[in-house]
Amino acid sequence: MSQPAQTEIHSDTVELASFYIGEALCGMDILKVQEINKLIEMTRVPQAPEYVLGILNLRGEIVTIVDLGKKLGLKSTGMSDKTRNIIVNSNGEHIGLMVEEISDVIQAEAEKVEAPPANIGGVQGKYFTGVFKTEDRLIGILDVEKVLEEES
């Protein structure tokens, strides 16, 4: 991950860690991200919800790995060299989100963030806090807590 060489960060700018879910480029507030890992060997959890890939030992803590694609109602994330776990801190617990590929850290100016549409790349709009539009790209900003809500 290369830090973009931006010298000035405006107070109304959000830094987004961006990644791909399927074809869609998404981002999340980088402050949410604890670390990004390559795949470590996971232990499967039989009978777990479908979107849970397994659990792993992250420095003595048990971390649940969630297939982000599956959780958002897309097809399951394919495993490849580029697959990464984004470990986020949610409600005092570390959870790994498995994504197909990660991308750059993007500075998103607040004025360019708009309300999310009903659907971004097949993902329901309710999972996003907004979209960040640049000239050539559209980045959905994921609402991590919403995504990680347990289904009853």
Binding site: E41, M42, T43, R44, V45, P46, Q47, A48, P49, Y51, V52, I55, L56, N57, G60, E61, I62, V63, T64, V66, N91, E93, I95, L148, E150
Partner: protein, 1084 residues
């Protein structure tokens, strides 16, 4: 006055609660002793009340102070024998101490809580009793132990007085300290100097320690609005090394306000010290007392005083210091947030931490220098230190279960009083230690159970009389360690639980169906009380029986990893057993493998591990209804295949090519078995597919020239079944897993919130290799599989009951070890004779002095073969031999054998005629083989008669043989045991069962001096017989020895309550005879 929460306040709350915890039980003890009071005890309570009063006065907690003051008054009168502590007085004191606990727990509001009731009742008690004549009191006073009799010390102007004891003084004088009474004025000496009283106390603690403190309220006079009173004297009883000359400099107050307590307990002002003569005499005094006179360095003083400060008020306790576990936000939780830890334990921890640092340095060095051997050594050291550290830290969390138990005498007393019952509570094993978190969590469930016992268990006195019981009921609360767990037992001798009634209620409430109820065993019916929504009380009382009782208890205990179990007999009482782990954080577990993944099963749920060899699967596993069950010691154990429940493919390890393969067997039980009446054609498909895969595998292996007949599939080693027998409360089942690994201590880690839906896991743990393993929740697994304690035992239970009934009355079950002397003849010996089995080489055997011996655990073990005595085929000459180590006549001997050895439980009739000969007791058919039962005693006795000392023959006063009544239903055992008792010179009356024995006892009541009885007998079993004998006044002193095949803890406990004096194992002649002599009455 606003109340400030500072360190001093926390300390006060902690200490006061501690005092109060003791006060209650001490008051009960005082009540029990009645007029004959134990002065030490009364003094202890008095002192406790007094210290609370002192502290409360200092903090401005007037209500607490007033209440304790009145309590103190009454206690003072009890102490001086002006008052006899009757239940009424004690009751008022107890209520007051309850109110006090309440006040202290709500300390911020304590001054606003209305306590006039208590004060009034205390006052009326204090005044209502006529005082005894002074002379009488004086005489009684003289009897008091001087060291504990407090002296009243007061300042010359009589403003306040302290009750001090010699203990306090000698404690204060330690190290040559001086004791002072210092009168501060809260207004002029503290308030105007911008200090707080707690500043003052902490100042004082840094230079000495405070023995006692008091505020002289009387001296304050009237409180006027907006105007401070003239003085507010606060008197501190203080011990310090500082000399009388310098003491006033320390506190910046006038010399007139400081008084020294001299050795003869006189109070004198230090103002006199300006006179040099007095100074000299003071020094002399000090020398006489034994003070070394030399000044200590500051650090020494600091060290000493720091420890003593935390130790004040409790000189009798051992050295403890306080560790703040957690900084608490509220004052209420303060008492739970700190923990007293023994200082020596802290030192151990410190040492271990030091060692750990050292080893880490070594390890780092070894790694940087690239020395693998040094790294390995440090690794081992770190391993060792870590486990010691773990243990030591665990110890700091350990607390006596007495903390919980101690509140029950009061609970039982009050409750029994309310209900008009007479109940005595016995506490055993108060010293048993448990983790703090568990101690805190078991309080409520135990209270519930104890209250239940009083409310539902023990009957009203008139009912008890009617039932022929002592009208005082008895509840025993017992804690003990067993197998790394703590067991708690609550037993009462009340009316017991009626299984039928429970079952009927359960059916009526729809908890179970009628069919299910019909098939339940008595024990299962009793355990129905744990079902949610079930209450046994016919009418709801305020005590218990609110319908949320036992299931909540069970849920709470489940959460702690505990197991609860009830045993009850109508009319005789109920025993509730709880097993608890010592701690929650680190638990020993069995690691198993299923589908290639490791899982942990907590040891507390583990009953045993069972591996059924491939060739026995067919015989031992069958289908009953739609459940697969395994025969285990005559009972049917339902089986659950772990892989099926959690929906994974099970695997097996193929030893032929060393790889794991998917196990496709759908059913464990053999479908080809003709014995299985539930065999149906449905399975053929599965079978065909299996045959196909077998064939395919065969093709794969053709290169290895391993040709297998598909029929032999079940004899393949991989077809052996690995079963983990687990228990969850009332039910027990077998979990079929792929592999059994080691048992390990694991650290429990919680699972993330997305996995909370997975009820089959209790958490996860990190294994040595860094990977994660899931911890199985065996109770929930059973539920998920639809194997609830009731349903699961439907048919299995029925069959088990049938089995039991078929067994009952016919034959005894005996565990035996089967072995061979050579390839053909099969022998057996009772397994409880066997100490160990050793594998040896024939070269290990030495022939010394015409006898065969081998080296064994630093000594020589004499070896015997059966053919030395009995006419059997000679011992096989083989390189690899087995030695069965047997304990007989107080020594170990070895019986040489060859394999295969097997342990079996048999219930077959032993034929003691056909093949009986010297060294052979008889024969039985075991597993299609005629098996000779070896007479170990006869064997050794024939070859080494000198090992058996001649016992004096016990005779009656008339010179006749002593008569023993022996009840045993098996002819074989009766003949055997009768035979050898007769050989020893006793006259033996044999009986076939308990009833016959009872009748014979009545017939020969004059002669019989001792009863030996079997336990499992038709008509009247051993327990029942013993109870019957012990209940009869004529035979109450008749010793009873039980002879059993297996004596487990439970049996022994059961026997103990039935009045059995000793347990002996059948066929262990030496021990039985010794026990007989031991228990025979001296004068016959």
């Amino acid at each position: 006055m606003s109340i400030q929460f500072d360190e001093t306040m926390h300390l006060f709350i902690d200490e006061s609660l501690e005092h109060l915890a003791d006060i209650q039980n001490d008051l009960l003890a005082i009540e029990a002793s009645g007029a004959n009071i134990d002065e030490n005890l009364v003094n202890k309570v008095y002192r406790a009340a007094h210290s609370i009063k002192g502290g409360a006065g200092f903090m401005g907690l007037t209500n607490i102070k007033n209440l304790t003051h009145e309590m103190e008054n009454i206690l003072g009168k009890i102490r001086s024998r002006e008052m006899v502590p009757d239940p009424e007085i004690i009751n008022i004191l107890l209520l007051a101490s309850d109110a006090l606990v309440n006040l202290i727990n709500n300390i911020a509001q304590s001054n606003d809580i209305d306590i006039t009731n208590h004060i009034e009742s205390l006052l009326s008690v204090a005044n209502g009793m006529p005082a005894k004549k002074e002379a009488e009191i004086e005489i009684e006073n003289k009897k008091f132990d001087d060291s504990l009799q407090p002296d009243i010390i007061s300042l010359p102007d009589q403003m306040a007085s302290f009750a001090i004891t010699e203990d306090m003084i000698s404690e204060g004088r330690k190290g040559g300290k001086n004791i002072y009474l210092i009168r501060f004025d809260l207004i002029h000496d503290i308030h105007t100097k911008n200090k707080t009283p707690s500043d003052l106390i902490s100042d004082m603690c840094s230079t000495g320690f405070v023995l006692d403190k008091q505020i002289d309220i009387d001296a304050v006079g009237f409180l006027r609005e907006k105007e401070l009173p003239d003085q507010f004297p606060f008197i501190v009883f203080f011990a310090t090394l500082v000399s009388p000359k310098d003491i006033n400099l320390l506190f910046e107050i006038n010399e007139e306000q400081i008084f020294e307590l001299t050795d003869d307990l006189q109070v004198k002002s230090i103002a006199e010290y300006s006179d040099p003569d007095v100074l000299a005499s003071e020094k002399q005094l000090k020398d006489e007392f034994g003070g070394d006179g030399s000044l200590k360095t500051t650090s020494e003083i600091q060290e000493e005083t720091v420890v003593e400060c935390s130790n004040e008020e409790e000189p009798e306790k051992e050295n403890v210091s306080e560790i703040e576990v957690e900084d608490t936000k509220t004052c209420m939780g303060a008492s739970d947030a700190s923990l007293r830890v023994n200082i020596s334990l802290l030192d151990t921890l410190m040492n271990l931490a030091g060692e750990l640092v050292l080893s880490r340095n070594q390890l780092l060095q070894a790694i940087s220098s690239g020395d693998p051997r040094a790294a390995e050594t440090s690794g081992q050291r770190i391993d060792l230190i870590t486990s010691e550290l773990q243990e030591a830290i665990m110890l700091t969390r350990m607390q006596n279960i007495g903390i919980v138990f101690n509140k029950f005498p009061r609970v039982v007393r009050d409750l029994a009083g309310n209900l008009g019952k007479n109940v005595e509570l016995y506490l055993k094993g108060k010293e048993v230690e448990l983790d703090k978190t568990i101690i805190e969590a078991i309080g409520d469930p135990l209270t519930h159970l104890v209250r239940n016992s009083v409310d539902h268990g023990i009957e009203l006195p008139e009912d008890r009389n009617e039932a022929g019981k002592n009208n005082t009921g008895r509840i025993i609360l017992k804690a003990y360690h067993e197998a790394g767990q703590v067991n708690i037992e609550i037993s009462d001798d009340g009316k017991g639980l009626d299984g039928q009634k429970l079952a009927a209620t359960a059916v009526a409430k729809g908890v179970v169906t009628e069919d299910q109820a019909r098939m339940m065993s008595d024990k299962e019916k009793i355990n129905l009380v744990f079902m949610p929504g079930f209450s046994t009380a016919e009418k709801v009382t305020d005590v218990s029986g609110r319908g949320v009782g036992m299931d909540v208890v069970k849920t709470n205990l489940d959460r702690l990893g505990g197991v609860i179990d009830i045993d009850s007999k109508i009319g005789e009482g109920t025993t509730i057993r709880i097993k608890l782990p010592l701690t929650l954080a680190i638990i020993p577990s069995q690691i198993i493998v299923a589908g290639g993944d490791r899982y942990a099963i907590p040891q507390v749920n583990l009953e045993e591990l069972l591996r059924i060899p491939a060739n026995q699967v067919k015989d031992r596993v069958e289908i009953v209804g739609d459940a697969e069950v395994v025969r285990l010691r005559g009972n049917l154990l339902p089986l659950i295949k772990l892989a099926d429940v959690i929906g994974i493919e099970s695997t097996y390890f193929d030893y032929k090519d060393g790889s794991s393969k998917t196990d496709r067997r759908r059913n464990i039980s053999d479908r080809r078995s003709k014995r299985n009446p539930y065999f149906s054609e449905d399975h053929t498909d599965a079978e065909n597919s299996k045959l196909k895969t077998d064939k395919k595998e065969d093709l794969d292996r053709s290169s290895e020239e391993v040709k297998r007949n598909p029929k032999d599939r079940r004899y393949h080693a991989s077809s052996a079944l690995n079963i983990v027998v687990v228990s969850t409360g009332a039910m027990k089942y077998g979990l079929v897993v792929d592999e059994l690994n080691d048992s390990e201590e694991i650290v429990v880690k919680p699972l993330g919130r997305h996995l909370k839906v997975c009820k089959e896991y209790a958490g996860a743990t990190i294994m040595g290799d860094g990977r994660v393993a899931l911890i199985l929740d065996v109770a929930n697994l059973a539920n998920m599989y639809g194997l609830t304690s009731v349903e699961g035992s439907d048919r299995a239970g029925e069959v088990a009951v049938e089995n039991n009934e078929a067994d009952r009355g016919s034959k005894d079950r005996q565990s035996i070890l089967i072995f061979r002397g050579e390839d053909e003849e099969q022998f057996a010996i009772p397994i409880n004779h066997v100490e160990r089995i050793e594998k040896i080489k024939d070269t290990d055997i030495e022939e010394v002095g015409g006898k065969k011996v081998m080296k064994y655990r630093g000594g020589s073990l004499a070896l015997f073969t059966i053919d030395q005595v009995a006419h059997v085929k000679p011992m096989a000459k083989k390189e690899d031999l087995l030695v069965i180590v047997v304990n007989i006549a107080d020594r170990e001997i070895g019986i040489m054998a060859v394999g295969p050895v097997d342990a079996r439980e048999i219930s077959v009739e032993i034929d003691d005629e056909t093949l009986k000969q010297q060294g052979i007791l008889g024969s039985a058919i075991i597993g299609d083989h005629t098996t000779l039962l070896v007479d170990v005693y006869g064997l050794v006795h024939t070859l080494n008669p000198e090992w058996f000392p001649d016992r004096e023959i016990v005779q009656t006063a008339q010179g006749k043989s002593v008569t023993i009544l022996y009840a045993e239903d098996s002819n074989f055992f009766r003949n055997q045991v009768k035979g050898f008792m007769e050989e020893e010179g006793y006259n033996v009356i044999g009986a076939e069962d308990g009833n016959v024995a009872w009748n014979l006892l009545l017939e020969h009541s004059e002669e019989v001096s001792l009863v030996v009885t079997d336990i499992e007998m038709p008509n009247l079993n051993g327990y029942e017989l013993s109870e019957k004998i012990k209940k009869d006044k004529r035979f109450a002193d008749l010793p009873i020895i039980a002879l059993t095949t297996m004596a487990g803890e439970e049996d022994v406990a059961r026997g103990e309550s039935a009045g059995i004096d000793d347990y002996q194992i059948k066929l262990d002649r030496e021990k039985l005879m010794r026990s007989v002599i031991n228990y025979l009455p001296v004068n016959i």
